[in-house]
Symmetry: C2
Subunit: 202 residues, 2 copies
DNA sequence: AGCAATGCTGGGCACCTGCTTAGCATGAGG
DNA sequence: CCTCATGCTAAGCAGGTGCCCAGCATTGCT
């Protein structure tokens, strides 16, 4: 009797309409606003559809999270393989939307352990990718790994940006400009001035 | 007709019992668990008492927040006036309980603008105190303020620790030890090895 | 024509939420 | 002795929540 209830197909159109609506709600009003009825309303669909496509709300949240996380992993891999990997990593972890979505999920993780596990899993995947790529760079840039290990470098770069994004969302600003300047001065020392990315063919 | 409803005195015993319960709930289960009925249950009191002492839930949250924030400001002032201010600031912003409470309030700020305003206000007060104290230190320690401004130093120290605390709460760990070591190496260079604090007379 | 899979929905249950109202009990001050 | 402030509470309203069930329509397969 594993599941009993009939669920909609994973590739049905309205399923992703619901995912979009949930994600938007998450960004605009925080996770507490994401209820089956609110999501459906935002999507212009009936509330029961949420339960038709997702066994429960946890599954909805997980689906939103995984979709974004997988996309983010690809995005990060491309960044780390680009000509200025540290610059790219820095810009990557400075994206406002992605980082505020992440913050919502971190908040959710406090209450829904299924989600906490998934976030921990993906976070480690992100970090493993970063450390691996940066390990090569530390050698290439002749950074003394006793001074600045790849792990520390990665924690610093991604942590600082996320923290500043968070503070900005609260309306804080003091110290931000100086910190950005400091980081970017170091990036320039290592990788030269940021080259404008050429527009990516879609 | 400003308020109409009769409210309990701010110094009544059970009022702070409720505040304690709310704070504990906030820590253990996140802000979504903080409802009037849950708080009252945790406090061993009747739910209506919550509404007798607080006009609404926002006021409850604000009261919990202010109590902690005021205490934190004193704590921080003492830290910054101690013989090893940077070490003290570092340890201060590494306290697990305080930082996870802060994270809950940051989450709440997304949904309740009254709380967002209060957090922004106090955060700036914390930061102003930090920057002021650290400005003196930068001179005393002969740090080149063009290399590392007080603002950047403060954002880095407090941000890194909070970020790592957050990740730890999620179950992450890679890169943390190296980052801690890096920070503490720098602190030692500036202020010497951490002296054990003598037990504070209460 | 018959069947099964699929998308969808009307209606509803059980539960939790913030908050209110009207009132009871007690103790201090006049 | 009466009054009034204070602490507290029974009862309840209006509204939101997750989720389920039974069933309808449509489509494609055999």
């Amino acid at each position: 009797m594993a599941s009993s209830r009939r669920l909609g197909a994973p590739d049905a159109k309205n399923r992703s309409v619901l995912l979009d609506a949930a994600e938007q709600l998450l960004l605009e009003e925080g996770y507490a606003a994401v209820s089956s009825r609110r999501v459906a309303a935002k999507a212009g669909l009936k509330p029961q559809l949420v339960h038709y496509y997702f066994r429960n709300m946890d599954e909805l949240f997980l689906a939103v999270f995984r979709r974004r996380a997988e996309e983010g992993l690809k995005h990060q891999a491309a960044a780390l393989a680009s000509p200025q990997p540290l610059w790219a990593l820095w810009e990557f972890s400075t994206e406002t939307e992605a980082s505020s979505l992440t913050m919502e999920f971190v908040g959710l993780a406090n209450q829904r352990k299924a989600i906490r596990a998934e976030i921990a899993y993906y976070s480690e995947r992100f970090r493993r990718g970063q450390i691996e790529a940066v390990s090569g760079l530390v050698r290439r840039y002749k950074i003394d790994p006793n001074e600045l290990s790849p792990g520390a470098l990665v924690v610093l770069m991604t942590g600082i940006s996320r923290m500043i994004m968070m503070e900005k969302a609260l309306g804080m600003s003091s110290g931000h400009a100086e910190t950005f300047a400091l980081v970017e001065r170091h990036l320039e020392r290592l990788e030269g001035p940021r080259e404008p990315r050429r527009p990516q063919p879609d």
